[in-house]
């Protein structure tokens, strides 16, 4: 059996990214939308790690490290925002949060 190629990793990454995008578009619960965002970040991480491995260059993995740190802080702030929003409006359903809509 021959080894797995870069393209297969990239295809998995693209599919995972599209799953996350689909979740952001389709789901109406703001928490699930947030989880879909995490899926998209993970897909980018996978592509970066695959490129790093196949190009013999560790900088891609360093970038993944930074992305994980940024994602962790983003989740902390975003979930605090969601909790503050829920405390004021008693909902996590995005269609009830239409104050800024024209």
């Amino acid at each position: 059996m021959n080894a797995v190629s870069l393209q297969e990793y990239l295809v998995v990454s693209a599919l995972l990214f599209c799953l996350g995008l689909l979740g952001v578009i389709v789901r109406r619960n703001i928490l699930v939308i947030y989880m879909s965002l995490e899926l998209m970040l993970n897909a980018a991480n996978l592509a970066l790690a695959a490129f790093s491995r196949f190009n013999n260059n560790l900088n891609g993995q360093v970038l993944v490290f930074f992305i994980i740190a940024v994602a962790a802080s983003e989740v902390a702030v975003g979930l605090a925002l969601i909790v503050a929003l829920y405390r004021r409006r008693q909902t996590t359903h995005v269609e009830d949060l239409a104050t800024l809509r024209l």
């Binding site: 059996m1 080894a3 190629s5 870069l6 393209q7 297969e8 990793y9 990239l10 998995v12 693209a14 599919l15 995972l16 990214f17 599209c18 799953l19 689909l22 979740g23 578009i25 389709v26 109406r28 619960n29 928490l31 699930v32 989880m35 879909s36 995490e38 899926l39 993970n42 991480n45 996978l46 790690a49 695959a50 790093s52 491995r53 196949f54 190009n55 013999n56 260059n57 560790l58 900088n59 993995q61 360093v62 993944v64 490290f65 994980i68 740190a69 940024v70 994602a71 962790a72 802080s73 989740v75 902390a76 702030v77 979930l79 605090a80 969601i82 909790v83 503050a84 996590t92 359903h93």
Partner: protein, 167 residues
């Protein structure tokens, strides 16, 4: 043996990722969170196959450990019983699926045509902790320090946002 594990982990990642966004049995956010947990675990399996051992460990520790616990805590704090009963709009589901399907086909088609990474060998870069740490502190010391600042700002922001009376 590597392709077998690759297909197992890739299939698990995509399957659990799909169940995060659309579970046919329940729409409870806790189930989504648990499937996101499984997605992250199988992603760390893919990282191991890519010889990114440190990233696999960090993925489990930070994502599966910290981020998912945060998600579950917030789900616990919010009372989401009423949210489960709402239906998704069929038009939105169909349009979203078509749009993302087209995007996926475009990306995969572009990869097929560009023949990216065709001559590249996969047995060189080792993502061991030593190599990664040396690279991180030799070439990326300033971004590393900036990340610590970012984490501090995020912590202060989270504390401020969750205060009782937001002014």
């Amino acid at each position: 043996m590597e392709p077998v594990f690759f297909y197992i982990f890739a299939g698990l990642t995509l399957l659990c990722g799909g169940l995060v966004i659309a579970n046919p049995f329940t729409r409870n956010p806790v189930t989504s969170a648990m499937f996101l947990f499984l997605t992250i675990l199988s992603m760390s399996g893919l990282f191991v196959l890519l010889h990114a051992f440190f990233l696999a460990a960090v993925q489990v520790l930070v994502y599966a450990g910290a981020v998912m616990v945060l998600f579950v805590f917030v789900i616990m704090l919010l009372d989401l019983k009423e949210e489960e009963r709402r239906r998704m709009k069929l038009a939105a589901v169909v349009l979203g699926a078509v749009a993302t399907g087209v995007i996926a086909l475009a990306m995969i088609g572009a990869m097929r045509h560009s023949r990216v990474g065709l001559g590249l060998e996969s047995n060189v870069a080792e993502g061991s902790t030593i190599a990664l740490g040396k690279n991180l502190f030799a070439n990326f010391a300033l971004p590393f320090e900036l990340v610590s600042l970012l984490l501090l700002v995020a912590m202060i922001g989270a504390v401020l946002l969750s205060k009782k009376d937001l002014r």
